[in-house]
Amino acid sequence: MSSGFGEQMAVLGLTLTVVITIVLAAYSSRVARTTGDFYVAARSVPAWWNASAISGEYLSAASFLGVAGLIMVGGADAVWFPVGYAVGYVLLLALVAAPLRRSGAYTLPDFCEARLRSSTVRLAASVLVVVIGWLYVVPQLQGAGLALEILLGTPVWVGGVLVAAIVLVVLVGGGMRSVTMVQGFQYWLKLVAMLVPGLLLLAAWQLDGRPSALTDSVPTFRAETTVAVEADVRVVVDRATAVRANGTIDGEAVSGAAMLPAGTVAIDAGTELTFPAGADVPHLEGIPARTGEAWARPLEGTEHPLYRTYALMLALFLGTMGLPHVLVRFYTNPDGRQARRTALIVIALVGLFYLVPSVHGMLGRLYVPELLMTGRTDAVVLLLPGALLGEGLPGQLVTALVCAGAAAAFLATATGLTVTVAGVLSQDLVGRVVPDPIRSFRWAAVVAVLVPLVLGLLAASLPLAQAVALAFTVAASTFCPLLLLGIWWPRLTDLGAAAGLVVGGGLAVGAIAASTLLTDLGGWPDALLSQPAAWAMPTALLTMVLVSRATQHRLHPGVSRIMVRLHTPESAQLHQTWTARGSR
């Protein structure tokens, strides 16, 4: 796949996004001199543009590439990923948006310190912001590596290093104040790069006679297909298949005609296999081979699907409100009312985007089924235009557009998260060593990019959308109960909040670590550890309530003032003497 087709176009698309991003960042950082300028200026931004920026930052590589890939593999059950990513904003709108904006807090640690008057809770919150941020950035960098490897054939580390470098250039070069403009632009780029190819692909599918993906057989190669295996894989072959091969199969060098025996077959990196038209697609070990009909039926293909579905729903629905990079953006609304309207527009923008990936998922099973064999299903969005629209100019242009969108996805989320993580690091950690705020932010930015880059190179990569769901899980188990109780329950105490954050964060992170290290668990232990939100979030909530009830003497007398501030509309002209630290 790295050979020839559309390579220049891919490079063109990627480069264009990068150049526009850097130019916009440089331009708007010249307009605003200080951070304060930037946020004050941002308040004159209309709600829809602010919502574009939030959506631009939110729609990461997991949404742009990962969702379609997961749907291609998981079918009915994977559709919960985009649904969950969007529904999270309904909960954010209904329970958090306006009060959080009215608190005047700029970051989550600011909110914790202001609401609970506790620097301990603030520190716990800061650590969690960094953990969630890094969990979220790692798959972005890995995804960039995968995309470049598939498009251009570069080694897998190149993409991550490039994204990290560009993020650093934008941030350290003083562009940290420019993010709203860049990210608003990146939303619309991503939408066009998803919607236009999606519609063209549907049209091409119509012209092709609308073959159904809901077949009664496993996916087959529609035409003679050559598959280049880029990493060692073990695949499951249902029926012995005659192929032409060049490379190493089951430890034996082959060249020319060969037989793939039924059963599990090891294929080494660098092997090329040519399958005849109509042959069944061997599936990567771990990806269940399912007929089109079974693929389209919910609750099939995994163990304990009902538990997994509900745990995923809980993580995604509740996790969105605890994502630090999303919440920061709500501060740029002028008041609580606008914050609500912004959240509503985000629901519309994000929902519009998520109409498309399931189309890619379905078409992927028909036109690029070899991804089920190589396991590179995250690339389905990138490869479909070439496979379906042909190698002529239309196919190349669409590929370039998709590449531009993918680059926007990597950059927007990685930049937004790095700003947030670096902000917290510089305020609460680096700032204690390096007093100058600008220098401390720069050092923090370097740390905030390098750590996930190294982690991403060391850690095994999960499918993108699944990896990002882990960050949602930690957010749902920590910041979600903290925000809900902090906003709606005056009796939350500092000790209650701290205990809940430690318990929820510890359980969620521990479970995720355990499920990555202990890969061959299976059964209930595997289901519970890989999807811990369903039990970690309620435990954290209960801990906060119980510990708060036991420590009511620690309630500080200003709580009712804070409740006035959080819940009364700005139009009511009350004395809002209280403001959160960090408000500007």
Binding site: A76, V90, A94, P298, Y310, I347, S358, S560
Partner: protein, 143 residues
């Protein structure tokens, strides 16, 4: 305004008033004109809330409760039907295989229809929340 200075502005406390009344009891007064109405100055709810009186607290709690009820209703409107779907699919396996025209039913529901539906619920929420706030503003400003 600090809390102390605000308390001073409120005038004499009840105990001071009672003491004053007792002191005045034995004196006789000649009435030369109809008594001027001496009423406590009218306070708006806004001032009640600012001064954290019991009345103010009641109004604030009422607002918080209304908004919380609205928020939970919004969440329930979206989450209950969605959460019912996997259970329905799990208990009645035939439902998962239902077709809606060329598409499976789940695809139509979860792939497409869910997005306009949550947007509509969100829009309803914003309208109701703003209405609650307008009502509260009217109330506290005593208009």
């Amino acid at each position: 305004m600090s809390r102390e200075s605000r308390r001073r502005d409120q005038g004499p406390t009840r105990r001071e008033q009672a003491a004053a009344r007792r002191e005045h009891l034995p004196r006789r007064e000649v009435i030369t004109a109809p008594r001027r109405e001496v009423r406590r100055p009218h306070r708006t709810v806004a001032e009640d809330i600012d001064q954290e009186t019991r009345v103010g607290r009641v109004f604030l709690q009422a607002l918080i409760r209304t908004q919380l009820r609205l928020g939970l209703a919004t969440v329930a409107l979206v989450v209950v039907p969605l959460a019912a779907l996997p259970l329905l699919f799990g208990l009645v396996p035939g439902v998962g295989a239902l077709q809606a025209g060329p598409l499976p039913l789940w695809w139509l529901l979860l792939g497409f229809l869910v997005y306009p539906a949550i947007l509509a619920v969100g829009w309803w929420h914003v309208r109701q929340a703003e209405r609650n706030e307008a009502r509260f503003t009217e109330l506290v400003e005593g208009r």
